[in-house]
Each structure stands twice: as structure tokens, then as C-alpha cells.
């Protein structure tokens, strides 16, 4: 049984113009010790999905799901109180923005310890010891002194590591990391990623890692789900996805990034023309068809989820057909 099992998850947000379907029926599952990466363009619903899992959706958001189970517990019917027993203890989250995710008014020690004191009922001393241990594990020197510092006294990289330590305080079974490195520069990013990978292997924690940096995905993920306009349009083990992307959007993404050694410097890059459809109201048919080089009239029908090789699915009418030649680069549109 997977640790987390999601079937037909939907998140709707009422907005001025109608209802915004931020997440439009997605399925996925995560096993213990597994690292699942969620990728996709900005605004495709990645953060909404993770917040839905944590039960931290915005006030007005509405969530429905055929199944939303964490270790056999049905999350859709869980009371807020029981839910808060789970949060932080068995599933925890690392947020996108390290600069603002810590409360400026309290010391790191206070913020690190309060969760474990609440969930495990340990003493302040014990909690501090665990915090120090974890801070050292995430590579922060002089951890003991850090406990008395305030967030603003730390650099972004340090804060992000504190967030990671905080997520680990109760040894959760699942960590959801929402773009934890986009705000950081490459050297710090590399440090943090390594750390996450190590900790995960050590504790057997399952991780959902959200990013739109395909370089990062390639290096750390066990499996990848690609999202587009609120749907998972492709899902595969990492090597398979890179070797043999099944959805034109995935192919488009991969070809957009300049790959040193492959893309000649100064040459034109591939780009996906057009813009993401509005998620307000219903989207009929394939959401990608207006940008898709291979679009056909059939695409006006909703594409089925087609299975490719082992554990590799793509939501495209033509996923199982041979990959057509890449389209000519576009000129300025």
C-alpha cells in the first residue's frame, strides 16, 4: 500500500470571474522512501496540490477527491483537530519562500521546538537537543547559538536549512517540499538538494518535491509527474521521462532549456508558443492543444491516460505513437 494515495483530486477557487479549477482531477501515489517530483509551468497547480495534501488550502478553496489517503487515513473526512495531529508529526512541508516562512518575532529555537513539544510531549530540553542535532545535520555550524537567533539574522540559505530541520523534527513519514530552492543561487541550491537526498535515504522518508527546474528533477527524483493546467499529463520514472517523454508538453519543456554541449551557444532555443489556458471555467478536450505542434481535431476530445512502458503514463491521444519530428523554431511570436 502506498504511503499517500490520491485519486481525482480537485481544487476549486471562487474568483471574480467564476470558479477557477486550479487542480482538475489528478491521480498520483507516493511510496515510503520515494522521491516524487512534480514539475510544470508556473500556475499549473503544483502548490495547490501540495497545500491540498496538507490541508492548508486558502480559506475559500474547495477540495474534492475520490480518494485522499495517507497511510490508510482518509484525509477528506478528517476533522481539523485530528488533521493538526498529523501535520508536522507525520507529514510536514517545506515552503517555497525561506525569507518569509519563519515568524520574525520568535527565536529559531522556539519555532523549531514547538512542533515536537506539541506532538511528542517532550520537554523543552529534549526538544532543543533534537533541534541542535538536526541543525548540525543540515550543515549549520554552532547550532546551539543559532537557537537563540532570530530569522532575520540568517541568510536565505541558512533559513531554508532551518525550514528543512523543522520539517524533520518529528521524523515525519512524508515531506512535501514546494520549490525550496528557487530563491537561492546555485551553490546553495546544490547544498540543500544533497542534504534532502541524504536525509531521505537515511530516514526512509517519502518526499514530494515540487519544482520547475528540470535540471534539479533529473538529479534527485525517483519518479516525475508533469502537470499542465491543473492536470497530471505525464508520469514516469525519471530516466524514462528524460529518455522518452510521452507528452508533447514534456518534450517542449525539455527542449526549451539550453543544454551545454547539446544546444550550440547563441543558437535559437526551442520555445512553446502561446500561453496557458485560463483555468476559470471548464476546459474541454486537451488543454495543451492550442500550443501543441501535433494537435489534431481529435484533441478536442479529452485525451485518455495512456500507459507506455513500465509505470509510464501520458495523457495524450498520440502518446503511444512515434514521436514526430520537432517543429521548426518559431519566429518571434
Amino acid at each position: 500500500m502506498p504511503l499517500l494515495d490520491v485519486k481525482n483530486l480537485r481544487v476549486d477557487l471562487p474568483v471574480e470571474a467564476g470558479t477557477l479549477h486550479a487542480v482538475r482531477g489528478i491521480d498520483f501515489h507516493v511510496d515510503r522512501g520515494e522521491m516524487l517530483c512534480l514539475v510544470g509551468e508556473s500556475g499549473c497547480g503544483k502548490s495547490m496540490t501540495s497545500l491540498a495534501l496538507m490541508g492548508l488550502l486558502p480559506r475559500k478553496a474547495r477540495l474534492t477527491a475520490d480518494r485522499l489517503e495517507f497511510d490508510g487515513i482518509d484525509l477528506t473526512t478528517l476533522s481539523e483537530r485530528r488533521r493538526s495531529d498529523l501535520r508536522g508529526a507525520r507529514m510536514s512541508m517545506i515552503f517555497q519562500e525561506p525569507m518569509t516562512a519563519l515568524n520574525p518575532a520568535y527565536t529559531l529555537g522556539n519555532q523549531l521546538c514547538e512542533g515536537v513539544i506539541r506532538h511528542r510531549g517532550v520537554s523543552r530540553r529534549e526538544a532543543s537537543e533534537r533541534a541542535i542535532y538536526l541543525l548540525e545535520r543540515v550543515g549549520i555550524s554552532a547550532a546551539k547559538d543559532r537557537l537563540n537567533q532570530y530569522p532575520h539574522q540568517l541568510s536565505g540559505g541558512l533559513r531554508q536549512r532551518v525550514m528543512i530541520a523543522m520539517a524533520l523534527m518529528c521524523e515525519p513519514d512524508l515531506i512535501i517540499a514546494d520549490e525550496p530552492t528557487t530563491a537561492l543561487d546555485v551553490t546553495i541550491q546544490a547544498q540543500i538538494l544533497r542534504l534532502l537526498r541524504e536525509l531521505q535515504q537515511e530516514f526512509g522518508t517519502a518526499v514530494i518535491f515540487i519544482t520547475h527546474d528540470l535540471g534539479v528533477v533529473a538529479r534527485i527524483a525517483d519518479r516525475v509527474s508533469v502537470m499542465y493546467a491543473g492536470e497530471v499529463i505525464e508520469s514516469a520514472p525519471t530516466p524514462a521521462l528524460y529518455a522518452n517523454p510521452g507528452h508533447p508538453y514534456t518534450r517542449g519543456l525539455l527542449s526549451c532549456i539550453p543544454a551545454p554541449g547539446k544546444t550550440p551557444p547563441g543558437s535559437r532555443l526551442q520555445a512553446i508558443p502561446g500561453v496557458v489556458p485560463s483555468l476559470v471555467g471548464n476546459v474541454e478536450g486537451c488543454a495543451f492543444r492550442n500550443r501543441c505542434p501535433q494537435a489534431q481535431p481529435t484533441c478536442e476530445r479529452t485525451p485518455p491516460l495512456k500507459s507506455l512502458l513500465d509505470d509510464h503514463q501520458a495523457r495524450c491521444h498520440f502518446a503511444d505513437q512515434s514521436v514526430p519530428a520537432p517543429r521548426q523554431p518559431e519566429t518571434m511570436s
Partner: protein
């Protein structure tokens, strides 16, 4: 190449900020940029990379005349920028900023935004200006009807195009790009990069291109300068820097870049976590506390940025 003056030349440029000063108190001084010298020849793209907070944006602001340097000079086409007025400068140097959301006034129509430079410089009649705007929107690949919209009604990629159109309408020689794509996702980024390259070819523009994304820098630039704590630590052609980096910081930087190659894992760059405090930089070589190769001399002496090998590449390291 040495005859005609370079499009942009920085001579010993420095900028320090005063921190925490007030009416009654002198603050500490923070050297955001120290003694930076660079030449960007006409028609070339110069990349500028470095850790966040190392002074890249400050440098860009000085080139744009948004802050005055504490020391040193900027020469545009061989003429000093100091003393030149902002309006005159605007005809030569234009920026493209990082954030396509905050760089456009949300309360103005696209046509007003793009036409503003012409209006400020009193170029043409209203009708001529409108024509120029339409033309420029074509150049950056925006539909004409965008002219009547507000920035809030455009996507990030489209907004960044508006910003580019505004920068280009005066036909500047030099465009300063400060992380122009870091807020965009890869597919939009590709569109913008393509556009920048096209424009360079079409108009012979000179770019200073600041970015964190090494893959993008490598794709786009002719030469690269690497900054660390306000100073340039290495400078050379793309091939020199990406092919054979000589400064340990450049090496660490390149090693940290993650290419989309599954299975390679995340490399260990072994650089410690201590981001130095820019208001109290380490003695000697500023990088020594984090440098795997540091020795006593690094603590005492600051290495000079020199063209050691005579291959037109400069590096500031005792062991290069």
C-alpha cells in the same frame, strides 16, 4: 577593436552604502562594489554571474545612472557618464529588469508605457509616436491590440516583451539585463532569450547580461565576468570560463549547476555554509574562508585581477 572605443568601459568602479545612518548618526559602510574594471566591446554580450548579494545589481544601477559611483568612472562610447544627464544617457543605455510584474506601472496602458521614452525626449508628434510604438511592438512580437491593454492583463512573457519594447524604442546601443528571465519559467524564458538574440543580430546591440542561471549565460554570452563580494574574481571568454575555470569560486559555481541529466546526483562542492558579511569582508582574498585551496597568503594578501597568461582572460587568485 582597440581603435573604436568599447561600447561600455568601467574603470575602477566602486560603490559603498552607508548602513543604519540617520540624522544623528553615521552608519557602517558596506562596499557593495569594489574596484571593478571591465570593457564591453560593441555588439558583444557580457555575462555577469555571482552569488546573490555580491553586487551585480548595484553595478547595473551605476551603469544606468540610478546611483552614482563612490569612485571610478563609466565610459559610454568613450565618453564619461559622470556629469552626463540622465536624459542624454537614456539614449545610449537602457535596462531590462528582472521582474516583469513590477517593472511596468500597473496603471498605465501598454502604449503609454512603450511610448513614454519618446514622450520624455519630445520625439515626434503624437501620431508618429503611436506609429513607432506599433512598430516596436511588432519587433518584440506582441500583437498590436496589446497596446490598449494594461500590464495586469498580460502574461509574464508578454510583459517582459513590453519591457523590452520600452527599452528598445529609443534604439539604445547598450542594454543592461538584470536577471531578465529568472522570474519566468523555462518555456517563456526560451522565448525571451530568442528575442534578445534576434535583436542583437538585427540592431547590433551590446548587452550586459546578469544571471544566476549558468546554462542560460553559457548559451547567450560572448564573455563572462564572475563576481564575488563586490569584486570581479575572474573574467574571460565563454570558452575560457566554462571550459577551464581557474578561480576556485568559478569552479564551485560551475560544479553546482545542475544539467538535466538523470542519475548524476547532486555534486558535493565542499564550500561550507558561511556566507560572508559584506559589511565586514574577510581579509586578503575574500573567498579564503570558503576556499578548499586557501593558504596563509590568501588570508593576508588580496590577489590582483590580472591577465596572467596573456590570453585576454583575467583572474584574481594566488594559485591561478
Amino acid at each position: 577593436m582597440s581603435r573604436t572605443p568599447p561600447a561600455l568601459e568601467l574603470c575602477g568602479l566602486s560603490k559603498s552604502y552607508t548602513l543604519g545612518g540617520g540624522l544623528f548618526k553615521r552608519g557602517r559602510s558596506l562596499g557593495a562594489v569594489s574596484d571593478v574594471s571591465l570593457r564591453i566591446p560593441r555588439g558583444q554580450v557580457m555575462g555577469l554571474v555571482g552569488e546573490s548579494g555580491c553586487g551585480k545589481s548595484t553595478l547595473a544601477k551605476m551603469l544606468l545612472g540610478l546611483t552614482t559611483p563612490s569612485e571610478g568612472d563609466v565610459l559610454v562610447d568613450g565618453k564619461p557618464l559622470r556629469g552626463a544627464n540622465q536624459k542624454a544617457l537614456a539614449r545610449h543605455v537602457q535596462p531590462i529588469f528582472q521582474d516583469p510584474y513590477s517593472s511596468l506601472n500597473p496603471r498605465k496602458r501598454i502604449s503609454q508605457i512603450v511610448g513614454l521614452p519618446l514622450q520624455v525626449h519630445g520625439i515626434g508628434t503624437a501620431r508618429e509616436r503611436a506609429a513607432r510604438v506599433a512598430e516596436t511592438l511588432d519587433v518584440v512580437g506582441l500583437p498590436r491590440r496589446a497596446a490598449d491593454q494594461f500590464p495586469g492583463q498580460l502574461s509574464g512573457g508578454q510583459r517582459q516583451r513590453v519591457a523590452i519594447a520600452r527599452a528598445l524604442i529609443m534604439r539604445p546601443d547598450i542594454v543592461i539585463c538584470d536577471e531578465p528571465t529568472s522570474a519566468l519559467d523555462v518555456s517563456v524564458q526560451a522565448q525571451i532569450l530568442n528575442l534578445l538574440l534576434d535583436l542583437k543580430q538585427a540592431f547590433g546591440l551590446t548587452y550586459l547580461f546578469i544571471s544566476h542561471d549558468l546554462a542560460v549565460v553559457e548559451h547567450l554570452v560572448d564573455r563572462v565576468a564572475v563576481m564575488y563580494l563586490g569584486r570581479i574574481v575572474e573574467e574571460g571568454t565563454r570558452a575560457q570560463i566554462f571550459g577551464a575555470p581557474r578561480h576556485p569560486y568559478t569552479q564551485a559555481l560551475l560544479a553546482s549547476a545542475l544539467t538535466p541529466e538523470p542519475g548524476l546526483g547532486v555534486p558535493d562542492i565542499g564550500m561550507g555554509d558561511a556566507m560572508p558579511d559584506p559589511s565586514a569582508p574577510p581579509s586578503g582574498c575574500a573567498f579564503h574562508p570558503r576556499c578548499p585551496r586557501a593558504e596563509a597568503v590568501c588570508r593576508q594578501q588580496r590577489p590582483r585581477l590580472e591577465d596572467i597568461r596573456g590570453d585576454n582572460a583575467r583572474v584574481a587568485c594566488h594559485f591561478a
